[in-house]
């Protein structure tokens, strides 16, 4: 994970940064992309597909994946989440969907972020 000049992670999407700021505000500890979960291996046991949830909240022992994808384009991500739950049943992971993110932004009056999210490409997702 790379850090910027303020010792903050280089977030892959502005919504992730907005989300991190909200967590900071409410005193929720978080880590950005701390772990990659292997999902598929080749015959030589090399990982050929992995999944890195955006956030880990240690106090809640919860991974959070934000998705900017519209529901109709989330099939691939949903498949990865199903797979991660099959392979790692001991972990807690929540998918925070585009609509939920948008609601959060509107709730906190983050018009700029909410607008940015609304106008972002439905495929503008990093994982």
């Amino acid at each position: 994970m790379s850090l910027n000049n303020n010792n903050r992670p280089q977030f892959a999407h502005p919504s992730e940064e907005a989300f991190a700021r909200i967590l900071d505000y409410y005193g929720i500890e978080w880590q950005y992309e701390p772990r990659t979960f292997a999902l598929e291996w080749d015959e030589n046991h090399n990982v050929i597909e992995g999944f890195t949830p955006d956030f880990y909240l240690p106090q809640q022992d919860l991974y959070v994946e934000l998705t900017m994808l519209r529901p109709e384009l989330s099939t691939h991500k949903n498949r990865k989440l199903r797979r991660i739950r099959e392979l790692y049943p001991e972990i807690n992971i929540k998918l925070f969907k585009r609509r939920e993110l948008h609601s959060l932004m509107v709730k906190y009056g983050l018009d700029l972020e909410s607008e940015r999210l609304e106008n972002s490409s439905p495929q503008d997702d990093t994982h």
Binding site: I22, D24, Y25, Y26, Q60, S103, K107, L112
Partner: protein, 191 residues
Amino acid sequence: MNENQLQTYGEIAEDIREILFTPEEIQQRVSELGQAISRDYTGRNPLLVGVLKGVVFFMADLLRAMTIPVELDFIAISSYSPESRGRGVVRMVKDLEIPISGRDILFVEDVIDTGLTLNYILRNLKARQPSSLEVCVLFDKPERRLIDIPIRYKGFELPNRFVVGYGLDHREKYRNLPFVGLLKPGVFQSR
């Protein structure tokens, strides 16, 4: 509920697309909650604590549905906003006036969604060592939950939509609607 029925609520209901819970349904459920709490807290003189401002409608009706002696107090906290985010972390802008150490505390909330605010408040209250601390919420949006909150009493589950009324606001409006309804999309998409 059709347009004509909504019109009976006046100008404030013009932005409402659909009523989810009527005033009668809300009062019925609040009454049931009041009875359940009264049974469970008999002889314990609980202190009901709410966070301003949305809870005042629910709190007032809940108190009147209870049949045991109770005390009441409120807190207020700064909420996250574009203006406050530069100032660091959430803070209490109005504290309790009644000490809670050794008391049975029932925290009353109008709505829980992510659980971020409530998590902060419960941590703060727990640190003051009450004898017990339980949560009563009228409206729960479990789909949006990030932080697990143990809820002892729950009124209704809400869909993950923009709902207003009976204390729930959108940019400080609509709290005084006597029902809970869905906002028209254009209202929350534009400022």
